[in-house]
Structure formats: structure tokens, C-alpha cells
């Protein structure tokens, strides 16, 4: 793409030149027309007023200018040339009286023929001489303007450069910045034309700044959170090393495995959280059978649930046995359901019950996970969505990321997540409500 500067310069200088040429042409033709009228009048005057009685005299130039030279010829009634104003050969008489144009040997002539007392007087003038005169006149009128052209060019160049200076300054201001410097640009200092651009850039910078900040906070939090499982791992490893007999060592290694599992789970959850926050919206949404997905997630956790004698299953609503379809990302939704199930299983005591409900009411799709575990006190029900927040009053260790991940997946699908009391007044009921027309297929 051509630069604005070159476009402006080309347009302005080229336009000025084109205008000059057109104006020159117009002046030339106007002058030619007017001088033609004038000269024609002059020819007629000469033809009608010249004395014809005097004897033929040797030709002489009336004026020094060849273009003003006129050729005068007088014929008598017998057609004999009575007088010619030049020594060179003359023109034949025009066919009729009045104005006409005759082709000569090497030129075209404008003639006026008048009949006076039986004599015919013809006054002729060279057309090229007329044109030359008109051109000279036109050039003379344009001359001051042509002289101004270089000055005008310089002026245009300077004005264009000056007008583009804010753009240059803006580019320099942006170019000088370090990647971490996301301060807004000074919109006020910009010309009004640039303000929308600068405002849009500021908006982008602000969003970038927020994204960068939350990324940094996430990394810092993650590093901080990794310390705990690593500490547990290190301490247990040292205890295992100190074990004196086989039985002690077996116990120590079992605990070591538990702590390793926990560290691995935290890393996995961190990865999942980073992916979900990083925008899974990149993946094209596809129809997802939510009920089928829930069935698959439950199947994966059947062993885990039955080992603790937890009754884990689906409550199929009467309204929709086939299961509603959502438009979304199946992997993300699987993570959402999986996290809710893992939470329910973790905080439900042995012999408890975890119910999954998938319901479709026409305007919205509900996914509910209910357990009869320890529940979450109402005061904490908002904070548990915060990253790395863990509730008090239980000995279970969670990554503190599960519900945060659930919420970001839900948001990406235009869904809301609410926490309530379990069905029997204890435990927890998590409701994910898909009501965005974007995600509802039918």
C-alpha cells in the first residue's frame, strides 16, 4: 500500500499540474477565439476602408511582426490583379464575398473579400500566425502561475509533512515502548482525527494489561500453590528414608504415592484452568449430547464411587429422555461435569449418594449435581469459585481450582453456575443453567 504521504503529495502536486495544463488550454482557446474575432473585424475593416484608387505600390510591411502581416490584394472588374501588398505570390481570390478560409501553399489563410465599385478587395491573414499569437498570449497569462509552481510544490510538501507528524509521533511513542509498558496513550494530545484510533488502541492496551495482570497473578498463584504438595512430597520422602523397618517403609511409600498423586492432580488442574481461561472458544462449537456426556463421566468414576459405597447415578427427567443437545465444546463440558462429580465424590461420606440430573425445559437446559455430603455454608458459596480458595472444616485436599474451572467453562457456554442446599437439606446442589440461545440447539 502506498504511504499517505506519497498519496497526498502525488494527488496535490499532480492535481495542481493537471489544473495548470487545463487552465492553459482553456486560456489558449479563449484567447484564440477572441483574437480571431478581433482579427476578423480588422480584416473586414481593412477590406472595406482601404483606398483602392491609388496605383499599385511596392509591397511593404505594415508592421514588423510577421504574424500581424496581412496580405492585401485588389482585383479590378476584369479580374486583373490591381494591387498586391507583397512581392511573393499571392492568393487566389475567394469564391465569395465575406469571410472564408483558404488553403495556401504552406499555410492556411483567413480572408475577407469585399466588392467595392467593381473592384474586389481581399485581405488575408495567416491562421498559424494567429494561433502562435494566441499561444503566446495564453503562455504569458500563465507565466506567473508557472513560476509559482515550485513554491507551491514545496509548500504542499511541507504542509503534508507537518500534518502527518502526529502519526509519526504516535508510531514513535508506540515503538519506544517495552512489552510490559501498557499505559494508555495520551488521547487528549492527539488531533481529533486520530482520537478514535488512539482510543481504540488504548482500549486494546487496557484489555491487554488486564489479561497480562491476570496471567501474572495466575502464574504467581500457581507457583505458590505448587509449594504445598511439593512440601508434603519432600517431607514424606524424608520420612520414608528414615524408616527403619519394612512395615514403616511400606506405610511411608503408600503415603508418598498419595502425595505424588496430589501434586500430579494439581498440575493437571492448573493446566486445565490455564486452557479454559486461555479461551477454548477457539474450537468450533459442535452439537453435544449433554446426557450422554454425563453418562460417560459417571462411567469413568464408577469404580471410585463404588469403592466408597457411594450411589452415583443419573436422574433422568420425564420431559426429555433423549437428552438435550447443546452447541459447545464437548471436551470443556466433559471437564465441567467431571469436576462437579469429583467434588461431589470427594465431599460425600461413604454410603452417600450423588445424583446427576439433566433436564430440558424448552427455554433452558439444566445440569444438576446433588450430593449428601458436607455441603458448603451459604457465606462461602461465592468465594469457592475463586481460584485456589478452599473451604474450611474438612480434611479433604482439593486443588482449589475445580469450581473456578467449572465457572469458566460455563461462562464460555453462556451458562450460569449456582450453589444451593442438597435435596435432603444437607449436602450440595450445583446447578448449571444453559439458557443462552447461542448454545441451545433445540
Amino acid at each position: 500500500m502506498r504511504t499517505i504521504r506519497s498519496q497526498l503529495l502525488l494527488g496535490l502536486v499532480g492535481g495542481t499540474l493537471a489544473c495548470t495544463v487545463v487552465a492553459g488550454g482553456a486560456i489558449y482557446f479563449k484567447v484564440l477565439e477572441e483574437s480571431n474575432e478581433l482579427f476578423d473585424y480588422q480584416l473586414r475593416q481593412m477590406a472595406t476602408t482601404l483606398p483602392t484608387t491609388q496605383a499599385a505600390s511596392p509591397a511593404r510591411r505594415q508592421h514588423g511582426d510577421p504574424e500581424e502581416e496581412v496580405l492585401i490584394q485588389v482585383w479590378d472588374r476584369n479580374g486583373r490583379l490591381k494591387y498586391i501588398s507583397t512581392t511573393e505570390h499571392g492568393l487566389p481570390a475567394a469564391a465569395r464575398t465575406g469571410y472564408s478560409t483558404l488553403a495556401g501553399d504552406d499555410d492556411t489563410w483567413r480572408v475577407y473579400l469585399a466588392e467595392r465599385d467593381g473592384d474586389r478587395v481581399q485581405v488575408a491573414q495567416s491562421v498559424s500566425a494567429r494561433e502562435e499569437l494566441a499561444a503566446r498570449l495564453a503562455l504569458r497569462s500563465l507565466l506567473p502561475f508557472l513560476a509559482m509552481l515550485p513554491i507551491l510544490g514545496l509548500l504542499i510538501y511541507a504542509v503534508v509533512g507537518r500534518s502527518l507528524e502526529p502519526l509519526t509521533r504516535l508510531a514513535q511513542a508506540l515503538g519506544r515502548r517495552s512489552p510490559s509498558d501498557l499505559q494508555p496513550l495520551a488521547e487528549r494530545d492527539q488531533p481529533p482525527e486520530l482520537r478514535p484510533v488512539v482510543a481504540a488502541m488504548d482500549d486494546l492496551l487496557l484489555r491487554l494489561d488486564h489479561a497480562l495482570h491476570s496471567q501474572r497473578a495466575f502464574v504467581a498463584d500457581a507457583a505458590h500453590e505448587l509449594r504445598s504438595p511439593l512440601t508434603a512430597l519432600q517431607l514424606q520422602l524424608q520420612l520414608a528414608e528414615r524408616a527403619t523397618d519394612g512395615a514403616q517403609r511400606t506405610v511411608a511409600f503408600t503415603k508418598l504415592h498419595q502425595r505424588l498423586d496430589r501434586a500430579i492432580r494439581l498440575v493437571q488442574q492448573l493446566l486445565t484452568a490455564a486452557r479454559q481461561e486461555g479461551g477454548t472458544a477457539d474450537a468450533a462449537p459442535a452439537p453435544v449430547d449433554l446426557l450422554e456426556l454425563a453418562r460417560a463421566c459417571i462411567g469413568e468414576r464408577y469404580d471410585q464411587a463404588s469403592a466408597r459405597r457411594i450411589d452415583l447415578g443419573i436422574v433422568e427427567s420425564e420431559a426429555d429422555r433423549d437428552g438435550p443437545y447443546l452447541s459447545g465444546n464437548a471436551d470443556s463440558l466433559r471437564i465441567l461435569i467431571g469436576n462437579l462429580l469429583d467434588n461431589a465424590l470427594r465431599y460425600t461420606p461413604s454410603g452417600g449418594r450423588v445424583d446427576v440430573t439433566v433436564a430440558h425445559t424448552g427455554r433452558e437446559v439444566l445440569l444438576q449435581v446433588a450430593d449428601d455430603g458436607i455441603g458448603i455454608p451459604p457465606a462461602e458459596r461465592e468465594r469457592v469459585f475463586d481460584r485456589f480458595y478452599r473451604g474450611a472444616g474438612h480434611a479433604e485436599w482439593g486443588s482449589g481450582l475445580g469450581l473456578s474451572i467449572v465457572r469458566s467453562v460455563a461462562r464460555a457456554h453462556g451458562a450460569t453456575v449456582t450453589l444451593g442446599d442438597g435435596p435432603a437439606g444437607r449436602g450440595l446442589l450445583v446447578t448449571v443453567r444453559f439458557r443462552s440461545p447461542r448454545t441451545l440447539v433445540r
Partner: protein, 220 residues
């Protein structure tokens, strides 16, 4: 020596407790600040191990309340926060030492020993009194330079009486120093251990103050 561990992380708490009990300390472990404040009402502890990242009330708040009630025991903070500001805040809040996760078990033991020593007003790592030397680090006892075989409970009882010596300690307090919450306390156990120690060290090494308790007198 009886320690209180205040740590919400079940796995870290489990390992620390196991490690310190292996070092023959009586240790109680609580997982939240409320339980911690409740446990601290009795003030029998010789050392507090406090995790700052407690749920509910912050660990610093526990520390502040403990100190404002006049709690004297040294406090070792265990935390994942390692910025200078956090350390300063913890130390200014009344803590005596700071340990950042992840840490080494040996370092934890060494810091616990150092804090206990300072809490008892000693600058030497060993407790020395009237020909008896208790090497706290190695759990060894010497009598006039010769090895003195002591059981773990005998060692703990003697350390409680000698660190520092000259204080009269009630039987109940001595019992608390010997046993954590989950340990069964046998009846007359302090009397039994005092009897055994007297046999090994001489009858006048530990004196009985009738109706009050026992003391290791400063001079015979």
C-alpha cells in the same frame, strides 16, 4: 516437650507430626484457627508451629491473639509466602522464626531445637546440670561423661525438669509435657518415671515438694 502444630494441609501436617513425634516430642495437631485458639487456652506448649495460610481466620490472627493473651512460647511460622514483606509481617506479629515451604525435615528439627533452647534461656545446645548432660539433638544422656541409658519418656521428663532447672513443676504439667492428646496416659506415670530417674541419678537429684510437684534443685 510438647508442641502444637497448626497446619490445615492434611498431608503436610501428617508428615510434620510423624517426623516430630519420631523425634520424641509430644505433639498436638490442629487444622484450623478456632481449634488452635482453643488448644492454646491451656498454655502447656513449649513451641508453636504455625501455618500462615489457614482457612477462615488467618494464621497471623492466631499469633496476635496468642501473644495478646500473654502466650510466651516460641512460634515457628511455616508458610508458602516467601516475600520479604510477609516474613517481616510474621516476625513483627510475634513469631520467632520463619520456615518457607518446601523445607527440609532436618531443618525443621534444627529450628525447633534452637527455638526450644532459646525459649528455655540456654545458649548451649546441650542441657547440663550437676554432672548430667542431655544432648537434645541426639537424645543422649551422659552422667559424669559416661553414657546414661534413658528411655524416651525418662529423657523427656528429665529435659522438662532441667530446662531450666530449679522450677517446681506440677505432676499434671509434667504429664502434659510427656503426652500428646492421642496418647494414653498411664496412672502414676510421672511418679514411676521420677522413681526410675532417682535410681539412676541419686535420690536428691529430683526433689518432691509435697502437694505441689517435683523440681530439680539448682544445688544439693
Amino acid at each position: 516437650m510438647r508442641l502444637l502444630l497448626i497446619e490445615d494441609d492434611p498431608m503436610i501436617g501428617d508428615s510434620i507430626a510423624e517426623g516430630l513425634r519420631g523425634e520424641r516430642y509430644a505433639l498436638d495437631w490442629v487444622q484450623d484457627s478456632q481449634a488452635a485458639l482453643l488448644a492454646l487456652v491451656t498454655d502447656v506448649y513449649d513451641l508453636l508451629l504455625l501455618d500462615l495460610g489457614l482457612p477462615g481466620r488467618d494464621g497471623l490472627e492466631v499469633l496476635r491473639q496468642y501473644r495478646s493473651r500473654g502466650g510466651q512460647a516460641p512460634v515457628l511460622i511455616i508458610t508458602a509466602r516467601d516475600s520479604t514483606a510477609d516474613r517481616v509481617q510474621g516476625l513483627d506479629g510475634g513469631a520467632d522464626d520463619y520456615l518457607v515451604k518446601p523445607f527440609d525435615l532436618e531443618e525443621l528439627f534444627a529450628r525447633v531445637r534452637a527455638l526450644l533452647r532459646r525459649g528455655a534461656g540456654r545458649t548451649q545446645p546441650d542441657i547440663v546440670h550437676r554432672g548430667v548432660t542431655l544432648r537434645v539433638t541426639a537424645h543422649e544422656a551422659l552422667l559424669d561423661g559416661q553414657p546414661l541409658p534413658l528411655s524416651a519418656r525418662e529423657f523427656a521428663l528429665l529435659a522438662a525438669l532441667l530446662d531450666p532447672p530449679g522450677r517446681v513443676m506440677s505432676k499434671a504439667l509434667l504429664e502434659q509435657k510427656l503426652y500428646g492428646w492421642n496418647e494414653e496416659v498411664e496412672s502414676n506415670t510421672v511418679d514411676v518415671y521420677v522413681h526410675r530417674l532417682r535410681k539412676k541419678l541419686g535420690a536428691d537429684f529430683i526433689k518432691n515438694v509435697r502437694g505441689v510437684g517435683y523440681l530439680a534443685p539448682l544445688a544439693s
